[in-house]
């Protein structure tokens, strides 16, 4: 074997762990999707590992029509969209005030907001449940939307803060000269400039809110108000005998996020990992 061939061979061997982990990462999902098209006999006895021989899409029809999946989807969509929009608006306004405006306590206020990033969420579970009850928000969209906004604020405003401080100072001077008041400056100049940061924060927060489980579990008990992660929890019992339908439910619940990710993989990864720059 020549020297280059040997090095190529070594390189190929070195890559084996990567592809082994590729299987570990993807095969469980492939297995889930394939059993969503099978019946119990195929899953348990005749064909547990491979592709379905016959695509039983009736599993999907059963799952969709017999259970509350459309409702869970709608709830998740409403809660995630509204809370993400408010997080974007409030965090950007806050970051603008702290990063660009001139007043005395701005660094103290900024520090106060940062504290929230280091607070384990478990610590607010109990008082929050009481608060939601006292405000009569139990089993409403508000029970989730308000906490999701508040929890999203520290992280998002710090991302925006980092972004806004990098914009040159002359922007405000020019706006002032042109006679734009501060609100116009914010809406017409700052907001468009911050679009890349807005996109990043939007992806991050939407994903977080879409998949949030713990607070939803504590704050929502009404079947009609359940979000997708919460609603799915109760399929376990009712579907324990019909794995195919269970697989169909799980596949349907995962598909939107996986598609979004596949289309926007670079942006999603950047959004999800941007936290390391802020928190570290």
């Amino acid at each position: 074997m020549s020297k280059t061939a040997l090095s190529k061979f070594r390189q190929a061997v070195l890559q084996i762990p990567l592809w082994l982990y590729f299987i570990v990462s993807v095969y469980p999902l492939f297995w889930m999707v394939s059993y969503s098209f099978k019946n119990n006999d195929e899953i348990f006895v005749s064909n547990p590992f491979g592709l379905p021989t016959h695509f039983r899409y009736e599993n999907y029809i059963n799952a969709w029509t017999q259970f509350n999946i459309p409702r869970y989807f709608l709830n998740s969509l409403v809660v995630s969209t509204i809370s993400t929009l408010f997080i974007l608006l409030l965090a950007l306004m806050f970051a603008f005030a702290v990063a660009r405006m001139r007043w005395r306590f701005r660094s103290a206020v900024r520090t106060y907001m940062i504290i929230g990033m280091f607070m384990p969420l478990q610590v607010i579970m109990i008082p929050l449940a009481i608060l939601v009850r006292d405000f009569h928000l139990t089993n409403t969209y508000g029970a989730l939307i308000l906490p999701y906004i508040a929890i999203g604020l520290p992280f998002s405003s710090m991302i925006f803060y980092g972004f806004l401080t990098a914009i040159p100072k002359e922007i405000e001077e020019a706006a002032c000269m042109d006679g734009a008041n501060i609100y116009r400056l914010f809406l017409k100049i700052i907001m468009p400039l911050a679009l890349p940061a807005i996109a990043t924060v939007a992806i991050f927060q939407f994903l977080n809110n879409w998949n949030e489980f713990t607070l939803a579990y504590i704050l929502i008990s009404d079947e009609n108000m359940k979000t997708l992660p919460l609603g799915l929890l109760f399929f376990q019992g009712s579907y324990s005998t019909d794995w195919g339908a269970m697989g169909a439910v799980m596949t349907m619940a995962s598909l939107p996020m996986v598609l979004v990710y596949l289309f926007l993989s670079e942006q999603v990864e950047r959004a999800m990992t941007v936290g390391s720059a802020v928190k570290g």
Binding site: P48, R102, Y112, I126, L131, C176, L230, S254, T273
Partner: protein, 292 residues
């Protein structure tokens, strides 16, 4: 200009919505938790000051030892699997001669965007003692190591921690990969030209320069181990018995199932203190390496 940027009404309009919501929903409850941990409280009315008795009770609660032990095991599984294996994969994957990097990175990351409920239920199926993927695979390969994964008092905590490790591997991998990529290639090349083998060069050059990345990765892994909850809740409901309890599971149970809110608040305070302590220790450990 100062007047323009110091516009008081505008300032109030920009600041207050965020500040009020944040204070009412995040900061005020934190203070409440700390305060209520000194009271006997059923969550409705009767508040009786009880000093440190919740804490005294907590330290003699056998569930505390179980929870701390499980938190530690969970954190170790995450650290070893995600950071250990993640580092190895990131180093190989960052090599420019590696083929299919895009596919590899994407497929490692897919589980991250899935709902934790889906992932847990998928793994309940995979761990199923008779029809699950793992025991079937052992059957197929004729390895007599079939287990009742989730109802074994010893193996189940590791099996559960692995589910979290599996789901968020892609996240840690993305951080580590970005860390490796951020190091200028010539450092590494200089070391190999000086006669270092590739792996020695990584050990002495690449990894020490990734200090900030590792600091963050360890903080995530350790604090999410200490605070673990959802996987236990969905997969075994803390069982078998109470063997898979964690601190958050204790909070959940004492507050929402036994209406012992004051006591649950004391557990919350302990959880925060341990998380903060872990963060400080990790920071110190990694910063000390820097000056040495």
């Amino acid at each position: 200009m100062n007047k323009y940027l110091g516009n008081k009404p505008a300032l109030a309009l920009f600041l207050l919505p965020a500040l009020i919501l944040y204070s009412v929903i995040l900061i005020y409850p934190v203070l409440q938790t700390v305060l209520r941990s000194f009271y006997d409280w059923d969550g409705l009315s009767t508040l009786t000051f009880s000093g440190l008795s919740n804490y005294r009770e907590l330290f003699s609660d056998p569930l505390l030892a179980t929870s701390l032990k499980n938190g530690l095991i969970f954190a170790i599984v995450l650290a070893v699997f995600q950071i250990g294996l993640g580092t190895l994969l990131a180093l190989i994957c960052a090599d420019p001669r590696t083929r299919g990097r895009k596919i590899l990175k994407t497929s490692y990351f897919i589980p991250v965007v899935l709902s934790v409920t889906v992932v847990c239920q998928l793994w309940i199926a995979i761990y199923d003692p008779t029809n699950g993927l793992i025991n079937r695979l052992f059957d197929l390969l004729n390895i007599p190591y079939q287990q009742n994964w989730l109802s074994s008092p010893t193996a189940s905590i590791i099996a559960i921690a692995f589910v979290n490790a599996w789901q968020f591997m892609g996240y840690q991998f993305a951080l580590l990969y970005a860390g490796v990529k951020s190091i200028p290639e010539d450092y590494f090349e200089a070391a190999t030209i000086d006669g270092c083998s590739k792996w020695r060069a990584h050990w002495h050059v690449t990894l020490p320069l990734m200090r900030e990345t590792y600091k963050f990765c360890f903080i995530i892994a350790i604090t999410s181990g200490i605070g673990a909850f959802v996987q236990m809740l969905i997969m075994t409901n803390g069982g078998p018995g109470t063997t898979n309890y964690t601190l958050t599971f204790m909070i959940y149970r004492y507050a929402f199932m036994e209406s012992n809110y004051g006591y649950a608040c004391a557990v919350s305070v302990l959880l925060v203190l341990i998380s903060l302590l872990a963060t400080v220790v990790i920071n110190k450990l990694f910063d000390r390496g820097q000056t040495a």
